[in-house]
Amino acid sequence: MSQLTTIVTVVLCITMIVAALMAIRGQSVPIAILAAGLVSLSASVVFLVVASPDVAMTEAAIGSGLTTFLLFFVLARVRGGEND
């Protein structure tokens, strides 16, 4: 396993953990949703590095694409209760 891919994986894993912490600690809900989208996005790149392209496509298309949009869509409808 070449050095480069190991470094890329480690960097991506660190960004994922930081983004996950932001997702639960975020100041406001939109930032939390964006952080969760970032977690899914970097997870799909890690799936590519771990030689599973099918899962990478699914995670990218469904995990970061549709889930993030669903969350923002409902958040727009439920704006009032955001900060309680």
Binding site: T9, A20, V29, T58, L71
Partner: protein, 118 residues
């Protein structure tokens, strides 16, 4: 390599579970669950990984004869495909619930639905 990805997956699950159980806002709970689901998917794919092998696609690069020696374990990938779509199904359902709960009580704080035992 597999250890790094698996350790990250387990950290994501722990962060997701902590976030969903300790937050009072409904939307934050769902966001934390999405993170936990991504963590579970990472662990599953990490278990199927064998270093130095390639993706389970039979083409010019991986002819059928040497397939068994050169590909990683395809079964966890098939399981993760199902797990991701189930996670999205449940998330969509929970979001519809949040909309209706907000419509009923005009608040997203789970503590306000106190007529229940919990």
């Amino acid at each position: 390599m597999a250890y790094v990805v698996m350790a990250t997956g387990f950290c994501l699950i722990l962060i997701g579970l902590y976030g969903s159980l300790s937050n009072r806002n409904l939307m934050r709970m769902i966001v934390a669950f999405t993170v936990a689901d991504t963590g579970v998917n990472l662990v599953i794919v990490a278990v199927g990984y064998m270093s130095g092998r390639t993706a389970p696609i039979l083409d010019a690069a991986v002819p059928v004869a040497e397939a068994a020696a050169r590909i990683i374990d395809p079964v966890p990938q098939a399981l993760v495909l199902t797990a991701i779509v189930i996670g999205v199904g449940v998330t969509a359902l929970m979001l519809a619930y949040v909309y209706k709960l907000y419509e009923a009580k005009r608040t997203l704080d789970i503590g306000k639905f106190t007529e229940l035992k919990w």
